[in-house]
Amino acid sequence: MQTRAKITPFQFYTALFLGRVFSLVAYISNIRTRLSSEETVYETLFMGVLLLITSLPTFFLIKKDSESSIITRASCVSKIFSKALCVIFLIDFYIYAIITSGRFEIFTSSVMFPETNMALVLLALLAVAVYTAVKGIEAIGRSSIVFLIPVLSVFAFVYISLIPDFNTLNFTPMTSDDFSQIFGIGVYSCSRTVEILAISILLPFVRGNKKRGLPIWTLIITATILITNIMLEGVLGEYNKTQLFGMYTLALIAEFEFIERLDALISCVWMLCAVIKLSLTFFICNCLFSELFGKENKLLYHFISAAVIFTGTTIISGSMLDFSNVITSATTIILYLFSACVIPSAVIIAEKVKNGRNGNEKA
């Protein structure tokens, strides 16, 4: 995967951060097991540890060779292995993109425009994402930096305006659920950080020290989720359990001076995160298609990806029931562990085995 267009690690990890922020805002709390308010803090901390552990295979992958993608390295081991990885990753990313746009559709149809045809809204979002992907990784990276400013500003604005409503009593008693529940939800939260998959594929497009950025990125993600969860529980308390989109409710009750609601602001910046997340997916799918079928029909690959995601989203997000049936926590956990841990580990092991054989042959 040789490329001329390159972005800085800061741009790269910012794009991934925005992708994770999207998942954070679009967190549908009724498809997970409930935890008591105070337990979410432990769960987030546990999730952070898990995130660090599950990112280790990717970390070692970068440490060994930070310039080649996982696909290129797999092709050095075996061409069939590399093609198989491309197919697996394509399926993975399509599933995650369908989840992303499914959440977007549910959010828009239940909160933003309950009476509008969602297909049009989804098409508009996909069109913008395809346009971004067509413009290339540089456009994605650069626009991520620009989008980061409104996203952080709005989040900070909402949180600061909610400080008067924060109640520490919502965090008592300190323990009420058993550890197995915290563990289960921690693993599920970790599995929603699918951006780790993208790192190993997009390595050739990033110029600079990528290794250092990975642990910092996981820590920032954990801190962001922790702050959000603390705010959710501290402000909403038990009321949070009854909300479909907790973050949206948080913004709904926030008010600042003459502005009486901030939900529109949160929804707006959340859309920017959706654009970055989907465009990154389109770009990765395009890279994978190019590895499989050559680089001649790049535009066609984008359209195929858009069609697949649109169709998938329309099917699964027809109703909340269908969505929660397909997107169970088990599905995402298995997918995540397989793609983020098993595959990179397999590539590292296969490389070692091949190098060992080559060493023996030379000896």
């Binding site: 413009k135 620009v146 989008f147 502005i259 929804s267 707006c268």
Partner: protein, 515 residues
Amino acid sequence: MFKNMFQKWKKSKIGLTQPIKTDTDDKIPEGIFPALSENIITIREMFGESFDLVIKETQANGIKIAFITLDGMYDNLLVSNAVIAPVLDMKFGTTEPKMIYDHISEYRTSECDTKEAITMPDAVQYLISGCILMFVDGVNRCLALSVQGYPKRSIEQPQSEMQEFGSHEGFVEMYKDNVTMVRRRLKSPYVRFETITAGETSKTSLCICYHAKRADPVTVNGVKSRLKEMKIDIIPGAGAVRPFLEAKGLSFFTSVGITERPDVFAAKLSEGRVGIIVDGTPYALIVPYLFIENFHSLDDYLSRPFYTLVTRTIKMVCFLAAVFLPGIYVAVGTFHQEIFPANIIFEISISIQETPFPLFVESLIIHFIYEIVREAGLRMPASMGHAVSIVGALVIGDAAVTAGLISAPMLIVVAITAICSAVITPLHQPSSVLRLLFIILGGISGLYGIMLGFGLIVINLCSVNSFGVPFTSPLSPFDRYANRDSLFFAGWKTVGKRFMKVQNLRGSDSDANKS
């Protein structure tokens, strides 16, 4: 597949227009005849009945010579004193045409710049550039004497870039005068001014300016090749050259800077940029150009840094207001009334209720009218200015609100938008169009549509590379060093220590080794 279909469609359209073809080159004989009469006939045929073609045949030292020029293009006094008198007073001991020609060339016309034309197209080119041609019978070449003296505008204060503390000199139509103004500001032998001719019919001189030690050679060569390959019939102004230097891909924002000020132009050249001065226009082009430069002005560098920060912030806020304010007003008034407190919404609702149009339509109408008034103000004769002002202020401003056609808050929004768009003149054109688009987006899909549109604009901006330099630099990719002069200006004591080269900005192609 789509590419092939598009190419077929494109080919089918080509037949609608005529390809640009030189209308003189195919008639002009290549060489200059030794016989004077044949050269005169050729030039007469070429220029036809043009009254301004002046041919003066005479004799010098017993040899027939002819002066050919175009009336009004030369300086009478200079021609008399530096050309005609020395040649006619010539006493030379031979009648050999070639020797006389050489003698005139070397000794008799030294008071003016002399060039030699070996071919007829070259001779004609010199002639139409204002030179006087001197043919000697029996010599198959001619002298072109630079005695241009056509009427020109004197150097005046720039009209489109008014500054408080800067120089009062602005570019003029004569490119050589412009070059002199730049040269006076950059006294370095490495500042190069190279001319090429473009425009099949207009044969306009374009002067490519750059600092040889600072400009990226790839950029310089890129500019030269794009200008040489330019297919254009006439160049009415610098704006006609601009599209040939723009970055690839569609964008609302131009990646080619334009200035009327020699001081700004000189400063840009010192940063490693390439400038193009177009003959006949008081504007010069600059590449690479960054988006942030739309918010910079010369006064920023001549004021105290804290004030520069304030003015640049104001300009950015004004740009955002000029583009987004009407759209946001329509979106909030139509879809998100809950954002504002009840008393404000109550006032806005009353005003909306009193008008016959929905907020979205009302906004489009009033902005359309504003654009009409603005365009009229720009194009109309000065004597009509008062009439348009009265009509604009009284009829649209007052009577429309009193009659209940337009709500007062909407008029306030339009007024704020109009003033804001006047603050950022370089971005006036894109902001006018984008404003209307965002009104439509806000009216159809509320703040979400506006945010999606904002995302699209940002992505579009971020995808542009002006000669390998990211258009959004130094903000994204973020460059700490270059940001000493972006949103704020760190002051000359800090910035003046080292010069900035535009191709060294983070993310530039020409600086591939930078991490």
